[in-house]
Symmetry: C2
Subunit: 393 residues, 2 copies
Amino acid sequence: MIFLEEAISIVRQNVTVLTGEEQVNLSQSLNRVLAHDVVSDINMPPFRKTAVDGYACRAVDMDKSLRVIEVIAAGDMPGQPITQGTCSKVMTGAPIPDGADSVIPVEEALILPDGTVRFTGGKPKSNVCELGEDIRVGDTPLRKGTFIKPQHIAIMAALGYHSPAVMVRPKVAILPTGDELVEPNEMPGVGKIRNSNGHQLVAQVISAGAVPVYHGIVADSQEVTEMAIRRALHECDVVVLTGGVSMGDYDYVPKIMEKLGVKILFDAIAVQPGKPTTFGVAGSKLVFGLPGNPVSSFIQFELMVKPALLMMMGCIEPYAISYRLPLATDYSRKRAERLGLFPVVINTNGEVELIEYHGSAHIFALAKAHGIASVALGVKQLKKGELIDVRPI
Amino acid sequence: MIFLEEAISIVRQNVTVLTGEEQVNLSQSLNRVLAHDVVSDINMPPFRKTAVDGYACRAVDMDKSLRVIEVIAAGDMPGQPITQGTCSKVMTGAPIPDGADSVIPVEEALILPDGTVRFTGGKPKSNVCELGEDIRVGDTPLRKGTFIKPQHIAIMAALGYHSPAVMVRPKVAILPTGDELVEPNEMPGVGKIRNSNGHQLVAQVISAGAVPVYHGIVADSQEVTEMAIRRALHECDVVVLTGGVSMGDYDYVPKIMEKLGVKILFDAIAVQPGKPTTFGVAGSKLVFGLPGNPVSSFIQFELMVKPALLMMMGCIEPYAISYRLPLATDYSRKRAERLGLFPVVINTNGEVELIEYHGSAHIFALAKAHGIASVALGVKQLKKGELIDVRPI
């Protein structure tokens, strides 16, 4: 059994970044990983422009009544320079005419009966955006490996990346194992339960920006399991099994893995839930054996598999952000040999509330959870108000 | 000008939930909104089962050597009841045989030379999951209006919802306005900039689980703008314009809205950036006029439009969670008449760091931001260590 940090580190050291990229439309690049740096081909602002609707003038003239010599819309070019005692009406985004260095905002301008304009504000501001103050030609606002969100789409659009290159996505085989499983369209007979893990994993793989390849339920037979893993290793970049990795007599999965050339690097982590988590490699392919209980499987995917998938796409921020937040109530647990993970709600005061949770089979506890809290190994109790790490889910 | 809370409240009061639902595959229901409550058709666990690999026995016998009478795998049915002095070997998830009330974990069991089993642990635990302890027939673990995440997929799978009904998605017309705009595939000429807002909005609409209908750049002409808005109101449930909503001479959009029967409910919010944000309704259709600067447009979409889209789908948690986190440095601003919003990074200590930010045109500031922090109206300064609200982006 190893610590969670060691497990995460072993996975990280064994990831090989996939080679291959594809060009996609801008909107299709959402939730993909950028394959190249985005380099600016322009200065932004590309010209000196006004930040407000108002009157472009000389700062030294702001105590005078100014004659309006033209109107400049966004997209127009100024026709005349500003000289002493003159101004031009400018719309937000319009270029600043030569000679001007300030803009009187329309809210701080009084139009006198003779049509001249007077500054009525307090402290004058320039209200001018200087050429290149946000970005200059050759700057690199987005690095290769950025996981693309809407705000990054804006940057790519602004810099002409209309069909950006994104990294290819890992194909992830999903193999739920166990004779006790039936698919969701069946009514489970005596001793059976519906397969929830497999479908949860499909959704988790999609959410991680990768491609799920759902295999269907793998029966508890050495031959069937071996065939399924062999095929998955052949077709996919990553293989995720659930169930079949603890110490039961029918849990021969680790032996099959070894037979298929999968080098097992760990098979237990000091976390609760999720202890019987197995990780191995076969060349550049990764194999994860996740616990059969759906809460364990969910959490271990988020902690281990998702960062691995993001790293395979070259993602530079593969680990989710945790927040340190105050507990709304006391917390205690009986045993503390492992790092404890459990679902929590964040209330409207920003405090962490415990929710009813019976253990790793209790998927319903996740229904309303906002996050997974973690309590360090060795810690049995925390007091109301103490800070606890929460990872949003 | 109204406060942000008022603006959010006005939007909320004017949302009409869309009627209409569609049945989709389980994995396609990800990031959609559930149209009906999910009701359990089973008990879970559906039978008394073991939480561990081990030996099912009677608690009163745990100080004795026990004879193993059978092996029960997950998916098997027990053949024999447990009586005094006997046990059955059980795999995790297997049913507990009649007569047994406890399971000795395999890690705490010693196999004696005669094949009998002895408990070697400290304090005995039952290790039995009782029938229905997680859910009972008729319970409602997921409510109508749940935004579906992977953990909810597991619950639906477990309860047989293999093709759940989800709410129809609002169609959102996106109309970037302004003669200064060119599309990303063009090199902007003098006085022009590439349209980043429109494409950012497409991505934001997708991220909100709705359907973008991108109109293309709307030229600064009253006739063209009127036609575009008329068509958008006809085809879509929500119309989002950017640009054209401040006080410039060419900003006739509000007038056109009124002509087309759009009742404007507010046209300025006391926030920075994002003050010139307009909201109106035409029957059950919503119209948002967002500022032309891309940071303002981004933030106002997240604050106003996204919750509205989620509410139109009946979503029960339409507002994003904010976290109250400590500042890594002092913060100050010159003016405090509006609620201040600005991009921040969360460092590895969980503290909030400021990043270089020139104002609402500075989209590059969002490249590395983890969230948008907010400072209350009236507050000019915050000290290192003080808590600040951060909304992840």
